[in-house]
């Protein structure tokens, strides 16, 4: 009888951010659908009411079905029968419940039978599903692929595939190969155009493909014979109904065991080209990955939420030395720091989602009509910010999800090491978040541009200028101090004018920016809702000390010191 939406008031708080009014108006094109579709909203309030009520359905299914199934799904896992993937019984139950509830194609336009929700409520649903079962959110969350089809495929393809996804078919993104992991430019799966029937055919192997046997797959393949780099790659849609791909193997993983990770063999598999040739990696996969990284952010925060709750419950119940262990400073410090990191991660998640919402919606509007110059400017501004914030979000929150799972397990002591409590599974599930869709190290490679171009500082200055209640000014002063320290550290590194030196310090600098950004976001949340004050205080305390250590390291370092690190 649990409801994972209504039992967590923070979700409704983030859903009701002031910027939602703009996002909803853009997404609904001023509510033009209301006379065409019986489920379209009448106005802003009606739309928000719908998001909330639909998230209540998500919360109910997650509390009553997905979370109770998580343990058996983890034990049973998927299997291959006759070259096809059969999900664990609980996974299938979860999926059936969400499909019957109409919770697929959440962001797709109504003409493709979607719900036409903005990214914010969709990501919130992912946040909730992930708390219930971080492995399951992968399968459900791959509906993201439909966004990429909606963005780049032609009308015929959209009309063919999108309603299928809205009605419950699952998707997959087939990118990785044995020799092309982080470096996708090395993809070798071959796409050949047959002049006789005018169709493309795929041959080769893909590896580590989540839900690889999904109904609709986006496949990155080499369409240009003789090329070796990313410019020879195109994106294709493969339809499982073609039955030309064999699932050769399922990986035996450490965590997210309910999510099938497949090795696929394409044997002359017919496929449809998406968009233009040669744009596969440089344009479409980049868009796909940005969406997926936001999804991993949501997954990480769901894991943080689950880990925090398990730790908190255990610390209250477990008695040692005649009292609950939560009363000991060593334990309550861990828990309040976990809560601060959870709140910081979640506010960054929704801030980033709002940015993506605005620029993506403008992008879709620009297909319908010419944007006003001011709109175009706004789109560019949000897109730029989203490009800086997405890797920051994915990098930092996935690391936090690991930290929270670690600390929560630590609070459980010996019991946490046993299979008896959910934290053991959560700990294993968390581990992948900082690896797939680009490791933390690769997120830093993308995020460092936000440091070197001043992108983070620009946004931080905007936060700094926002109105605050007098009692919150002290926190802002601390954050201003941290900003000066960060600018100085970044300048020190950049002034060396050596790329390897920047790469070496990149993670330190990105994390410094992250602490300031999340500190401000928490502070602005506190302006709207008093209950975030504790987390704001704890997070800024932590961020200040962490940034000081990083600045200290940078300032007492020189280019010559790199040598010692290379000497391995």
């Amino acid at each position: 009888m649990a409801n994972f939406f209504t039992d967590n008031p923070d979700l409704k708080f983030h859903l009701s951010h002031p910027l939602m009014e703009k996002i909803v108006a853009l997404k609904e094109r001023n509510f033009a659908d209301k006379d065409k579709f019986d489920y379209a909203p009448m106005d802003f309030e009606d739309a928000m009411d719908s998001y909330e009520k639909v998230l209540e359905i998500v919360g109910e299914i997650c509390g009553d079905i997905v979370a109770p199934n998580a343990e058996s799904v983890d034990q049973e896992g998927p299997k291959i029968v006759n070259n096809e993937v059969i999900y664990a019984k609980g996974t299938q139950e979860n999926l059936d419940a969400l499909v019957n509830a109409g919770l697929m194609g959440i962001t797709l336009p109504r003409k493709y039978e979607g719900l036409n929700f903005p990214i914010v409520p969709y990501i919130m649903a992912a946040d909730i599903v992930s708390r219930a079962d971080a492995g399951f959110v992968n399968i459900w969350g791959l509906q993201d692929c439909a966004e990429t089809i909606n963005e780049f495929a032609d009308e015929e393809q959209k009309a063919k595939y999108l309603p299928r996804i809205s009605n419950g078919e699952t998707a997959a993104m087939d990118l990785t190969e044995p020799d092309a992991g982080s470096d996708l430019q090395a993809v070798q799966l071959k796409a050949t155009f047959n002049e006789d029937d005018g169709k493309w055919y795929l041959n080769g192997v893909k590896r580590f493909i989540t839900n690889g046997d999904g109904h609709v797959s986006l496949v990155l393949a080499r369409s240009e014979d003789g090329t070796q780099d990313g410019r020879g790659l195109s994106m294709f849609i493969y339809d499982r109904n073609e039955k030309a791909v064999i699932v050769r193997r399922l990986e035996n993983k450490m965590g997210i065991k309910g999510s099938p990770t497949c090795e696929l063999v394409f044997k002359n598999a017919p496929a449809e080209l998406v968009g233009s040739r040669k744009m596969g990696l440089i344009k479409y996969v980049m868009a796909l990955m940005n969406g997926a990284r936001l999804g991993i952010g949501a997954q990480s925060i769901g894991v943080c939420e689950a880990a925090y709750r398990e730790g908190l419950n255990y610390a209250k119940e477990r008695k040692q030395f005649g009292k609950s262990i939560i009363e000991f400073p060593a334990v309550y410090e861990m828990l309040s720091t976990m809560k601060a990191k959870l709140d910081a991660s979640r506010t960054l998640l929704y801030e980033t989602s709002r940015m993506v919402d605005i620029y993506k919606t403008y992008m879709h509007i620009s297909d319908e009509r010419k944007l006003e110059p001011s709109e175009r400017k706004e789109m560019k501004r949000y897109q730029k910010m989203a490009d800086f914030f997405t890797p920051l979000l994915k990098g930092m929150t996935s690391e936090y999800s690991n930290q929270l799972a670690y600390d929560s397990l630590q609070i459980h002591g010996g019991s946490g090491f046993m299979k008896d409590y959910p934290i053991e599974r959560i700990y294993r599930d968390a581990r992948i978040t900082s690896i797939y869709e680009g490791t933390t190290q690769l997120q830093v490679v993308a995020a460092i541009r936000g440091v070197t171009t001043g992108g983070y500082v620009d946004r931080i200055r905007e936060y700094e200028a926002m109105e605050l209640k007098p009692e919150l000014h002290g926190y802002r002063r601390t954050l201003i101090g941290m900003t000066e320290e960060y600018i100085h550290a970044a300048k020190t590194v950049i002034d060396v004018k050596d790329n390897e030196y920047i790469d070496f310090h990149a993670r330190r600098l990105v994390e410094m920016a992250g602490h300031i950004v999340m500190g401000y976001l928490l502070l602005l949340d506190t302006q709207r809702e008093e209950s975030f004050k504790t987390s704001t205080e704890i997070y800024i305390n932590m961020g200040k000390a962490e940034n000081y250590a990083r600045a200290e390291f940078i300032h007492s370092f020189s280019l010559d010191d790199l040598g010692a690190y290379k000497h391995i």
Binding site: D38, D49, V54
Partner: protein, 290 residues
């Protein structure tokens, strides 16, 4: 061939989450302290109806509920899950009804709805636990009834086949249509609310609700007639006042007491035929089993 299915549903206080203030000093249920929910076994009944609708194209599922104005929530909950329309039977004249008066009022409403193939209800409601209303409705309408249903095998060619869950197993029975079925909690859970249905029907209102000026989107029903939840008072159906409400209710609550189950004595028996037989005889004699 589509079926016309009526689901009898009741809004009940959530007795599964009873706190210390669940009962008033006079022994009656403190409804204000308990949230109002869709009676759980009525949800099992709704699921059976929806499965029939999925299977027999062109079928129509109608929710019928009796209760105060807020019981319209039950109808909306049904619409979100896939029902097509609903009737709310609401009037002061129905207040204080026991099972007999309730089944009388409901059967009168069904007579007015007139056209139906199957009436499905939950076995019993969690507030009264009587399991009487479904069977009484069947008797009053002079229809065959199948109780303890767990699964409908088919409903076609004027016949229905149902799997019943009994104490010591299951049995499959057939009945001619139309008929009444009451469904057990052991039947499949009801499907979740559907997002599109929810958004489509969330502004569905009874006439009384649309008269409340604080309600939003009250004009919508003009363009969208499916948003009108039928609301029937005692004047809308044909009844005899003497069978209604308190007057029509022979059940009088004399006293309510708290019962705490506890063992008074314990008895150890050995593992041999004689003593086991003795125990069985004793349990049969004191009606614990049998």
């Amino acid at each position: 061939m589509g079926l016309k299915i009526i689901v009898l549903a009741k809004q009940v206080p959530d007795t599964r989450n009873v706190g210390k203030d669940a009962m008033k000093a006079d022994g009656t249920v403190n409804r204000a302290a308990l949230s109002a929910i869709f009676n759980p076994e009525d949800l099992n009944a709704l699921e059976q109806a929806l499965r029939l609708k999925d299977r027999y194209k062109g079928s129509e599922v109608t929710i019928l509920t009796m209760g105060p104005g807020r019981a319209a929530d039950i109808i909306r909950e049904g619409l979100y899950r896939g029902a097509d329309k609903g009737y709310l039977l609401t009037d002061r004249a129905f207040a204080g009804s026991d099972t007999l008066a309730t089944s009388y009022a409901i059967s009168c409403a069904i007579k007015k709805i007139k056209s139906f193939d199957i009436i499905v209800a939950g076995r019993q409601a969690i507030d009264g636990d009587t399991a009487q209303v479904g069977p009484q409705v069947a008797e009053k309408l002079n229809l065959p009834q199948i109780t303890y249903a767990e699964h409908v095998n088919f409903a076609e060619n004027g016949k229905i086949s149902v799997l019943r869950r009994l104490e010591r197993g299951v049995e499959t029975v057939e009945a001619p249509l139309p008929c009444v079925i009451t469904v057990n909690a052991s039947a499949p859970d009801c499907r979740p609310r559907n997002a599109k249905n929810l958004m489509k029907y969330k502004h569905a209102k009874t006439v009384t609700e649309t008269q409340d000026q604080s309600e939003d989107y009250i004009d919508l029903t003009t363009d969208r007639p499916y948003l009108q939840i039928e609301e029937w008072s005692v004047n809308d159906i044909e009844t005899d006042a003497k069978w209604l409400g308190l007057t029509g209710s022979p059940t009088k609550v004399k006293k309510i007491e708290n019962v705490v189950f506890q063992a008074k004595e314990s008895k150890r028996i050995s593992n041999n035929e004689d003593e086991l037989e003795e125990l069985i005889v004793e349990l049969i004699e004191n009606h614990t089993i049998g």
